[in-house]
């Protein structure tokens, strides 16, 4: 079985985000970029399926600027077999919307015919939490989002999902889309020898136009602003003082 994992290049989760003074967006120039953390989890899960003999090939796909090939190399170093880069933007500040990403992924999937797609639950830059669900819709496949446990048996995948009230388990027929939540696994680090080996693994490059997908955004970003600030209050010296403050404020 072939497993396809979409991986997004995003601002590293440790970087302090700076909003540009003119309100045109977030400054990404000379900022550390990494694989979206949820996608590392998705790649890890796919590799584990391969190690268990359930999957035989793991293909990773990234859509965006050409620099996204670094992200793909990271996935290859973790253990993915093959990578596809779909160049859809020139400027590192141009984010491709989930709908366009899903359309591009659908075009890739029509060619590649994987039986399972594992995406991340959410990209930590746009915080959309949408691509996996949109892709499932376009393909007419079943979806199991926010997965914390995945078990494949025959043509069915049983997935435990993190939901508002706790956990839900569902069964989805293959082919299917899974989106990975934080507790699905702990992704491995790529070792130095594997990073070297990854340089020789195949990486195909295409463009959105090759796949016939229009990536014009449906949502125009009118402005980007700093959130309303919150300033530090006071330090209290003791539990008694804290209790007094809370009572003063009518909070308890």
């Amino acid at each position: 079985m072939k497993v396809l994992v979409p991986v997004k290049r995003v601002i590293d989760y440790n970087v302090k985000v700076r909003v540009k003074a003119d309100g045109s967006g977030v400054d990404l120039a000379n900022v550390k970029m990494s694989m979206n953390p949820f996608d590392e989890i998705a790649v890890e899960e796919a590799i584990r399926l391969k190690e268990k003999g359930v999957a035989d090939e793991v293909v990773v796909v990234s859509i965006g600027v050409k620099q996204a090939q670094d992200t793909l190399r990271t996935a290859l170093a973790m253990g993915a077999d093959r990578a596809i880069l779909v160049v859809a933007a020139e400027d590192i500040h141009d984010d491709i919307e989930p709908l366009a990403v899903a359309k591009i992924l659908k075009a890739v999937i029509d060619e590649e015919q994987p039986k399972l797609v594992i995406a991340g639950k959410q990209a930590i830059d746009n915080d959309m939490n949408a691509t996996g669900q949109m892709l499932a819709a376009l393909l007419g496949w079943g979806q199991a989002t926010f997965a914390s446990e995945v078990a494949i048996e025959g043509d069915t995948v049983t997935v435990t999902r993190e939901v508002d009230g706790g956990l839900q388990t569902i069964a989805v027929g293959l082919p299917a889309i899974i989106t990975a939540d934080l507790r699905l696994n702990e992704p491995r680090y790529a070792s130095l020898p594997n990073i070297m080996k990854a340089k020789k693994k195949p990486l195909d490059t295409k463009t959105a136009a090759d796949l016939g997908v229009d990536v014009t955004p449906r949502l125009t970003v009118v402005s980007t602003a700093e959130p309303a600030g919150r300033s530090a209050g006071i330090k209290v010296g003791s539990v008694d003082e804290l209790v007094a403050k809370l009572k003063e404020g009518g909070l308890v």
Partner: protein
């Protein structure tokens, strides 16, 4: 303009608070019809939400467990009559609405925190470190609303309830089991007071200290990702960028350092209290009242004295 609001239904009951908060946001856009994919009794509760024009109820086994494929098909079957399709940004709606949007060939606007006009919305990005204003060019707007930024609509209405035609079971997925913890505590996203514990709490047993304080205050219990990952607390307690977003009157963070991913889920709380033994912890930069102390001493004393 006409708005279809997909109600939050959980275990056959209407989640009134979340639905009423989304109703407040929806009312800014036009006449609101609430769609309840669940029992008639849940629809009757939805009908009490003030300012609602109509409630549609689709009672069918296909919708009993919130499966995304079936719910999306139902919403799409009704979509033609509406300019906006909205829902509270719950785990369930975040599963369904992007699927609806793709079936309609439109973008989804996730986690909107503000309505500028019928096409233009505000939403936090980058873990709440920036707020984007986005304008949609799509014919139908599909939106999930962040419940923590809208007050719940009142419940003095009596909208008519009509049956909607159920769609067929897609057969793409099926329900296996739910593992839902029963609790007498208020729900995290609607509680007036939240007490959250982090890695500093140290163990699942020690989390009882957090729970004791919460029970004394009639509060909900939250947790940081580190506390959940370490098995101190269940996943549905996680507050943050990728967990629940809360904005209670009072948020008490105990043994939580204050990573931006955590702040993203609680920094709109009215009053924040932080208890941490490290005076440099970033949580103090957003706390109204900070107490530098060992939680194992401070928590029992606080619980005692309140």
């Amino acid at each position: 303009m006409a708005v279809l609001l997909l109600a939050e239904v959980s275990a056959g009951e209407l989640a009134l608070d979340a639905t009423a908060k989304a109703a407040t946001a929806a009312a800014k856009l036009g006449d609101v019809t609430i769609l309840v994919a669940g029992p008639k009794a849940a629809a009757d509760v939805a009908a009490t939400i003030s300012g609602v024009a109509k409630v549609l109820v689709a009672e069918d086994a296909a919708y009993a467990n919130g499966l995304a494929e079936n719910l999306a098909d139902l919403v799409v079957s009704l979509a033609g009559d509406y300019s906006h399709i909205v829902a509270p940004a719950t785990a369930s709606a975040k599963n369904v609405l992007p699927r609806v949007a793709a079936l309609l060939d439109v973008m989804v606007i996730s986690d909107a925190s503000g309505v500028v006009d019928g096409d233009t919305f505000e939403r936090p990005v980058y873990a709440g470190n920036a707020v984007q204003t986005v304008k949609s060019s799509d014919a139908t707007k599909v939106i999930t609303f962040r419940t923590s930024t809208f007050d719940a609509a009142a419940c003095s209405g009596s909208a008519p309830v009509e049956a909607a035609t159920a769609t067929a079971d897609s057969g793409l997925s099926s329900f296996v089991a739910d593992k839902v913890a029963e609790s007498d505590r208020p729900e995290l996203t609607s509680a007036k007071v939240v007490v959250s514990g982090g890695r500093g709490v140290g163990s699942e047993e020690n989390f009882a200290l957090i729970e004791k304080l919460a029970d004394k205050l009639g509060a909900a219990v939250g947790a940081s990702r580190a506390a959940v990952d370490s098995g101190f607390a269940p996943n549905d307690w996680q507050v943050g960028q990728t967990g629940k977003v809360v904005a209670p009157e009072l948020y008490i963070a105990v043994g939580i350092s204050g990573a931006i991913q955590h702040l993203a889920g609680m920094k709109d709380s009215k009053v924040i209290v932080a208890i941490n033994k490290d005076e440099e912890a970033p949580i103090f930069q957003v706390a109204d009242f900070g107490l530098v102390a060992d939680l194992f001493e401070a928590l029992p004393e606080l619980t005692d004295k309140l």
